[in-house]
Symmetry: C2
Subunit: 135 residues, 2 copies
């Protein structure tokens, strides 16, 4: 693959992802969620502390502070100080938080699946295997 093609491939892929998300943003808004808030919710189980979350989502810590506060205020997230380390705030989805997150991920899944529909089932599996290999 010639050198510059990797950048083109990157851009193509980027456009694909961004247009997917743009198509979901409105419906997500009706759920009361911003796009990035959904990402935060989706990773809480796996990364239950703000600093960890920020690292996983490649966003600065102050940004995470803001999101966590907002999500807590909307009752989607609960936050309690970790007994084992008084600096850390352990995060946890509330019941409605989890439900909302699942709905949001469902919307994203639908939108992306719609584009994936251009591929055969075999190709979809190929793609998944390749992306997983890259991650």
């Amino acid at each position: 693959m010639p050198k510059i093609d990797a950048a083109k491939l990157w851009s193509l892929n980027h456009h694909l992802l961004m247009s997917t998300i743009a198509s979901v943003a409105a419906d997500l808004g009706e759920l009361g969620l911003e796009v990035k808030e959904l990402f935060v919710l989706a990773e809480v189980d796996e990364h239950p502390f703000p600093a960890e979350l920020a690292a996983a989502l490649l966003m600065p810590k102050p940004t995470m502070t803001v999101y966590v506060k907002r999500l807590e205020a909307s009752g989607l997230l609960r936050r309690e100080i970790d007994a084992a380390d008084l600096r850390r705030h352990r995060l946890q989805l509330t019941a409605t938080g989890r439900r909302t997150m699942q709905q949001g991920m469902g919307l994203l899944a639908d939108a992306f699946a719609a584009r994936l529909g251009r591929l055969s089932a075999a190709e979809q599996n190929q793609l998944r295997a390749l992306i997983e290999k890259l991650s």
Copy 2:
């Protein structure tokens, strides 16, 4: 592919692209370019008008106004009113603009190629074919 998997695949892919770009941001900065400025430069040839560019890059028009102004001020972009339609501003890369854009795309290509390195040449071609099919 079960429904929620599409969202996971999306997220995985997203993380891949974002971490690629994060790894390039610093070097790009030394070039005097912000990430999104690079995207703008890269699309000018294909979409020579701000409104068109904004649509192609999925960003609002006022944002594009800002970038175009900045890029013009740094001498990477030239702008002239289109004789055929006095509302439109036809954009054009300057010589240094084109050079800088190519360097930037080179950095992005290197960074992405580094991750693609985990795949065999055949797999890389597969991936490219799949992404192109989706776009």
